[in-house]
C-alpha cells in the first residue's frame, strides 16, 4: 500500500525484492544472486552486510505489500481494515490493543503467537507510556507519504490447541479515507482502495470529540459520507462501529441519527465505545471493551469469505526458491 513511497530506497532491480534491507525475495544469498550482484559492487548497504551472515526477511517495522509474501507463505492472513477520518483515533486504538496484549489481556480463545512488526508496535506504544521526563502523548500522525509507513501491523494467534492465524491491521492516514469517501477513484488513494477490497472485516471509527464540538455538523456529514462509501463496498463483510474518545458526550439527537444510519448501512455490525482518556486522572480505563472489540472482530471474520490478497509471484529457474515459509 505504500510501495510507491519506497522507490528511493530500492536497490535490487527485481520488482518485488528489497534486498539488502531484508532477505532476497528469491531466497538467494546476496553474493550469489544474479540480479543483485552488480548492484552490490556499488552499494554501501552491501558493504555493511557481512559475507558470513544472512539477512532476516522481516525488519520488524510495519509491513508493506511486498513484505506480505513472507507471511502469506504460512497462512492466509486475516486483514482488519481500520477506517476513519483524520484524528479519529485509529492509531491510538491499535496501540491500545497492543498495550493490553503486552499486559496479559487475551482475545477470546486466542493466545498470542508473535509478531513480525514489533518495531512498529513498540514505536507506537512508546508514545502512550509514562517514561522518565515524558508523559504519554498520542501517537504521531500516520504519515501520508514518508518512509515505510503507513502500513500493516502484524499479530499472530494460536487458537485452541493447534490452529494458527496471522492477523494484519491496517494503519493508514485518515486523509486517504476522507478522499475515498468523496471520490473512490482518486489517483492518490490506492491504499484506501486496497483496504476496502481485501479487508476481511472492518473497524469503522466514529470520532466522538469531533461530533460534540463546534464543527459537529461537518463531522456528522463526513462520517456519514464515509459510512456510505464503506457500505457500498462492503459485500456482506462485518463492521465494528467504534465510537472513539467515548468519554466525551455527544448530543443524543446526533448519536441516535448516526446509530440508526449505521444499522441501515452495515447489515453485520456491532457498536463499541472506547476511550483511553478520562475526565479525571484517577478514573481507571477498562480493558473490557477493547478486548471485546478484538475478540468480536477475530470471531466475525471466520464467517466471512473475502477476496484473497493478490501477491506478485516472481518467477525464476526454480520457483520453490521463492518459498521461505
Amino acid at each position: 500500500m505504500n510501495d510507491s513511497n519506497k522507490d528511493s530506497n530500492k536497490k535490487c532491480p527485481q520488482e518485488d525484492c528489497w534486498a539488502p534491507e531484508i532477505a532476497c525475495n528469491l531466497g538467494w544469498d546476496l553474493d550469489s544472486c544474479p540480479h543483485y550482484k552488480e548492484v552490490a559492487a556499488h552499494s554501501e548497504d552491501d558493504k555493511n552486510t557481512k559475507e558470513d551472515s544472512f539477512l532476516l526477511p522481516w525488519l520488524s517495522n510495519s509491513l508493506g505489500l511486498v513484505d506480505l509474501q513472507f507471511i502469506a507463505g504460512r497462512s492466509k492472513p486475516i486483514i482488519i481494515g481500520i477506517i476513519g477520518g483524520h484524528n479519529a483515533g485509529k492509531t491510538t486504538l491499535l496501540t491500545t490493543i497492543y498495550l493490553l496484549l503486552t499486559q496479559g489481556q487475551r482475545a477470546t480463545n486466542r493466545q498470542f503467537g508473535g509478531s513480525f512488526t514489533f518495531g512498529g508496535w513498540e514505536h507506537l506504544a512508546h508514545a502512550l507510556r509514562w517514561m522518565p521526563h515524558q508523559a504519554p502523548h498520542f501517537p504521531a500522525h500516520t504519515p501520508n507519504n514518508a518512509g515505510r509507513l503507513p502500513g500493516l501491523l502484524h499479530l499472530a494467534f494460536r487458537m485452541g490447541h493447534e490452529e494458527f492465524e496471522d492477523v494484519l491491521l491496517t494503519d493508514a492516514p485518515g486523509e486517504w479515507f476522507e478522499r475515498w469517501s468523496v471520490d473512490k477513484e482518486a489517483s492518490d488513494i490506492e491504499g484506501a482502495r486496497w483496504i476496502s477490497k481485501y479487508a476481511d472485516v472492518f473497524m469503522f471509527l466514529v470520532d466522538s470529540e469531533a461530533l460534540s464540538g463546534p464543527d459537529r455538523g461537518e463531522a456528522r456529514t463526513n462520517t456519514l459520507n464515509l459510512a456510505q462509501r464503506l457500505s457500498s463496498e462492503l459485500m456482506g463483510r462485518p463492521v465494528a462501529v467504534v465510537w472513539s474518545k467515548s468519554d466525551i458526550p455527544i448530543r443524543e439527537v446526533v448519536q441516535a441519527a448516526l446509530m440508526s444510519k449505521f444499522s441501515e448501512l452495515f447489515p453485520r455490525q456491532r457498536e463499541f465505545r472506547v476511550s483511553v482518556e478520562r475526565e479525571q486522572s484517577h478514573q481507571k480505563i477498562s480493558a473490557d471493551e477493547f478486548i471485546e472489540l478484538l475478540s468480536w472482530i477475530l470471531e466475525e471474520h471466520t464467517k466471512t469469505t473475502s477476496e484473497g490478497i493478490s501477491l506478485t509471484v516472481q518467477k525464476d529457474d526454480d520457483p520453490l526458491l521463492a518459498f521461505r515459509g
Binding site: 539477512l55 532476516l56 496479559g104 503467537g113 518495531g119 513498540e122
Partner: protein, 287 residues
C-alpha cells in the same frame, strides 16, 4: 571431533549481563566436583573464561564484565549419571552477538549452524532488570492535562518483552523451525537468573513460570503458544546465592568456597542447590 558430531547440543543464550558468566563459572566448579546430576567428560578445549570466574568467586568477588573480544564460544562436554551425553555451548559468551543480531537483522552462518545443530536452548533472562513502565491505560492522564515535553527519538527503546519474543522468533527462523505447529525441537528452558536479586517479597510463594507470566505476560503467552508444554521448562536461578561486589571480598565465599553457594528454583517452586539441574531437566525433555 567425531564425538562432538554425535552429541546433542544445548545452547546458553542471553544478552549482556544476563547472568551467563557467573553460571558458567559455578557450573564448571560443580561439574568438576562430579557429585551432582551431571559431570564433565573429556577436557573442554578452552574453559579459561570460566576458570577466571571461579578464581574471582573464590576470592569472594564478582567476576565483572566479560571481555567479549577475547572469547568466542565455550563448549563443555557433559554427561548425565544415566550415561546420556550432550555438549553445553556458550555460543556468545559475552552476549554481544545476540545484541548485534537483533540490531543488524543479520545472523552469522556460524550462529545459524550452531542453532541448527542444537536440540535445546537455555534462555537467560534477568527479571530484576526488566523495565516496567506505566501507560495511559494503567495511569490515565486526565483529559485536558497539559502536554509535557516529549523525549527525543534517541530515547526510544523496545520493551523487554518485545525484545525477547523477537529474539526467539529470530532464533527459530535461523534454525529453520516453523511455528504453525507447536515446537518440540528445540526444547526450551527459560532461566530466570539472579533470582535472589528479585527479593523475597517478590519470589515468595510463586513458581518461576508464574513470576514470568506476572512480569512478562506477553512473553509467557508467546512461549506457551509456540512450544508444546512438555518441551518447555521455566526455572529460577541464583548462580551465586547472593550479590557479590567487585572490590570488597565476601567473607562467607572465602571461608566456605563458591561451591557452597547458589541454588535453582524448580518448576514447582522448591529449591535445590544442584546447579546442574537446568541442564539435566532440559536433557530430560530433548526431542
Amino acid at each position: 571431533m567425531i564425538m562432538r558430531k554425535l552429541l546433542k547440543s544445548l545452547l546458553v543464550i542471553g544478552g549482556p549481563a544476563a547472568g551467563k558468566t557467573h553460571y558458567g563459572g559455578q557450573l564448571l566448579g560443580r561439574l568438576n566436583k562430579g557429585d551432582n546430576c551431571l559431570r564433565m567428560i573429556d577436557a573442554p578445549s578452552n574453559i579459561s573464561p570460566f576458570e577466571e570466574v571461579l578464581k574471582r568467586l573464590g576470592q569472594g568477588l564478582t567476576a565483572g564484565h566479560t571481555a567479549t573480544d577475547i572469547y568466542d564460544e565455550v563448549i563443555l562436554p557433559i554427561e548425565r549419571q544415566k550415561g546420556e551425553k550432550v555438549e553445553l555451548v556458550f555460543p556468545d559468551y559475552g552476549g554481544e552477538q545476540v545484541r548485534t543480531m537483533m540490531e543488524r537483522r543479520q545472523v552469522s552462518i556460524a550462529w545459524r549452524n550452531r542453532l541448527r545443530e542444537s536440540s535445546g536452548w537455555l534462555l537467560f533472562i534477568r527479571l530484576d532488570r526488566i523495565r516496567a513502565y506505566e501507560d495511559l491505560l494503567s495511569r490515565p492522564r486526565g483529559r485536558g492535562a497539559p502536554q509535557m515535553p516529549v523525549e527525543s527519538p534517541e530515547d526510544f527503546k523496545w520493551s523487554d518483552q518485545a525484545y525477547y519474543i523477537e529474539l526467539l522468533q529470530l532464533l527459530l527462523y535461523a534454525k529453520g523451525v516453523g511455528v504453525v505447529k507447536r515446537v518440540k525441537d528445540p526444547t526450551l528452558c527459560v532461566v530466570l537468573s539472579c533470582w535472589d536479586e528479585l527479593g523475597g517479597d517478590v519470589t515468595h510463594g510463586v513458581s518461576p513460570a508464574q513470576l514470568l507470566n506476572l512480569r512478562m505476560p506477553l512473553l509467557g503467552e508467546f512461549i506457551s503458544s509456540i512450544w508444546t508444554d512438555s518441551h518447555v521448562t521455566v526455572l529460577g536461578l541464583s548462580a551465586l546465592g547472593k550479590a557479590l561486589r567487585e572490590k570488597e571480598p565476601d567473607e562467607d565465599y572465602m571461608d566456605y568456597g563458591p561451591e557452597n553457594f547458589g541454588y535453582v528454583i524448580l518448576p514447582d517452586g522448591s529449591m535445590s542447590k544442584d546447579l546442574t539441574l537446568p541442564l539435566a531437566l532440559t536433557m530430560e525433555r530433548l526431542p
